[in-house]
Symmetry: C2
Subunit: 100 residues, 2 copies
């Protein structure tokens, strides 16, 4: 499996709008086993996303899905900056959809 | 919801044993909505855990569950050090068990 832990900052006052966009496609991406969108409680603009995919290829392919591309295009202007981007190799756990 | 992103280092040659312990209880913790255990692909001793709970209280209560306490006691000698510990406030996503 392939995992990603990422953080970024919404533009001022835009976190809520950005969160809404990020949550649009969570169930429509083949090979996505988990995709959790979270606020940073210590930063009013901070967002964390933790993802698990059945493979890095599935993650890469998701970026070409029309609805995802559209969401990214709408999200980018609302993002002020990117922070952590950590790749992981999940081995198991709770909350991994069976090859959704 | 309450989320945690954490990293730590296994003692040399102990990652596999540590991962096995960490995976033992993933489905037996009330209020745990997601608990993903992952290897750090760039560090042979590195482990990442991303968690989502229905509340911080549920997470805290889990630490008193006998099977969890037992697992922690067996895991501690296999841990060489702790790294990131980030608290988040999940707002939604894929892979959140319904109050498992």
């Amino acid at each position: 499996m392939y995992g990603l832990i990422g953080s970024f900052k919404a533009a001022a006052e835009q976190r809520e709008a950005l969160l809404a966009i990020l949550l649009e496609n969570v169930s429509g991406m083949p090979g996505c086993l988990a995709y959790v969108v979270a606020e940073d409680p210590d930063d009013p603009d901070g967002i964390w996303i933790t993802e698990v995919w059945d493979s890095a290829d599935s993650h890469k392919a998701s970026l070409a899905i029309p609805t995802v591309k559209d969401a990214i295009a709408r999200a980018m202007p609302l993002i002020a900056g990117f922070g952590q981007r950590t790749e992981t190799r999940p081995v198991g756990g709770l909350g991994l959809q069976a090859g959704a």
